[in-house]
């Protein structure tokens, strides 16, 4: 069910891309589907590894367009799921070219305050770079790191921390 939705959105986006990008995109998409199948078995509850995969805190920029992506501890690498979310965001942003966004980067509470500020900035920029490769101009995107200052879940447990390690795309206008 979920995969079907992805395909529809991706196909919509594909039509606007040139042929070269189209091929790359198909390869990426194939990888996505394959890796999703390969790793889904390891998933435990709402986390995969220590990356949050649930939807508890997720809000939507538009129907089917989640506003946030999640990260592993101390990491700023985008997971397969994060890239999928960001592609949806890119497609939505291309359709709504007047919208500008802020990418708010966050860390969990298990790190020193200053390092976490830098880590939040790095995470938000990972999201920014990915959106840019999907055609979103950098002047529509600003980045704001909150470090560990604005957790979404006040819990002191691995699940809460996984929800807090995030980059949230917020409409700026």
């Amino acid at each position: 069910m979920k995969k079907l939705v992805i395909r529809n959105i991706d196909q919509g986006a594909l039509m606007k891309l040139n042929k070269i990008l189209k091929n790359t995109f198909l390869v990426l998409f194939a990888c996505l589907v394959l890796s999703a199948c390969a790793t889904s078995k390891k998933s435990t509850g709402q986390m995969q590894g220590d990356v949050y995969t649930g939807t508890d805190t997720v809000e939507y920029l538009a129907s089917g367009v989640p506003d946030r992506v999640f990260f592993a501890t101390n990491e700023s690498v985008l997971t397969t799921a994060s890239r999928e979310t960001l592609r949806k965001q890119a497609a939505w942003l291309r359709k709504n070219s007047d919208i500008t966004i802020v990418l708010e980067g966050h860390a969990d509470e298990r790190g020193t305050r200053e390092y976490n500020l830098a880590l939040g900035e790095r995470r938000a920029n990972a999201a920014k770079d990915y959106l840019m490769t999907y055609g979103i101009s950098s002047n529509r995107i600003s980045v704001l790191s909150y470090g560990k200052e604005r957790p979404v879940d006040s819990g002191s447990n691995p699940l809460a921390w996984s929800k807090n390690r995030r980059s949230v795309t917020v409409k700026a206008n």
């Binding site: 101390n74 700023s76 509470e109 298990r110 790190g111 020193t112 305050r113 200053e114 390092y115 500020l117 830098a118 880590l119 900035e121 790095r122 938000a124 920029n125 990972a126 770079d129 980045v143 704001l144 790191s145 200052e149 604005r150 957790p151 979404v152 879940d153 006040s154 819990g155 002191s156 809460a160």
Partner: protein, 446 residues
Amino acid sequence: MRNLIILFLIFILPTNALGLIEVDITRGNLNPLPIAVSPLSIDDESKKNFEKTLKKKDIGSEISKVIEKNLKTSGLFNPLDKNAFLQAPDIAHLKPRFEDWNLIKAQALITGKVKNVDDKLRVEFRLWDVLAGKEMMALAFTTVPNNWRRVGHIITDKVYERLTGEKGYFDTRIIYVAEEGPKTKRIKKLAIMDQDGANNKFLTLGNELVLTPRFNPTSQMVTYLSYFRNLPRVYLLDIETGIQEVVGDFPGMTFAPRFSPDGKKIIMSFAKDGNSDIYTMDLENRIVEKITNHPSIDTSPSYSPDGKFICFNSDRSGYQQIYVMKSDGSNVKRISFGNGLYGTPVWSPRGDLIAFTKLHKGKFYIGVMRTDGSGERLLTENFYQEAPSWSPNGRVLIFYRETKTDDKGEGFSAKLWSIDLTGYNERLVDTPTDASDPSWSSLLSN
């Protein structure tokens, strides 16, 4: 602040005595020195006068309470119960009957006298070696009456210095972040207080997020991070005038600020495009210099007291570790090699040690190591604690500690704690609200 204080230091008598009592502060002190703090005596007229102006019934005994609390908090002294004192304060100040003080096992005695002189507060005090039956020190101060607590702190500093051989840290202030509200929407304000928690004052209103305040060497200015207009930037605040200005107005986030030891520069991190490097800004001519140039996160810089080196943390090895470099950015060397992650290095004012936060197997530690990374010593372990700041004499560290929340995400608190370099004498530092990011000032009177 300083300009307002008229502080005269008069030596009544040359301190000729060779003190027999000594306090060793290099080891954990399990037998704090028994000391008697006789309430400072005061004549009736002065008493009435100060009662009117200061709303304190007996300012002499109030000052002695400040001294007592300081001595007790240091962990090196054991102030004795006043009810056991046999000699009247005014007589003891003139000539103590040492047998009486010996009887209650006091090894040192502080006596003093308070007087109103032309609406000023005149305080004299003497420190006595009870066993040797000798005066060790005698000093007098004249100041504006409102400074009475500071007089207590200065007397403690003098006593501490006389008995330990090292400068004290009692006439100092702490700047910190006062916290309120739920963890997900914390309200944070800059706050300042005396080292003993008195005279707490909020410096910002809490409209914007503020973090990591740090004093300049003269403790009149503070540099900190503010999210004013949602632009996280390094700011400068003059404590007396309340004037704030942005100093790190770069095209991106500036954070982790500290002053150079001469107070002329601010060193900070600047984050752009996912990379944080260390920069300095000269406050006079506003010239900016890039100190590190590496695609990793470089942050939490802190100068050595001679200004020749900088310690900082970086994840260039893959994980957060502590590095030392020359102040121009050359000769970068990793110094932390133990198990775990290392952050927030702060150079000791004595120059010989670096304090840090360590994360290992889910626990946070405050520790110290030599500046080459050897001799690592962990002082305290907890669920979460970080950001040590040194007392000006390099003997005590203040830091903040956060509690774990329960299953419902409740029960969160953040508090300031202090611990001696020896690893002993861990204490909660009282603050009116929750608190974090403490920074210890220099000695206000030198």
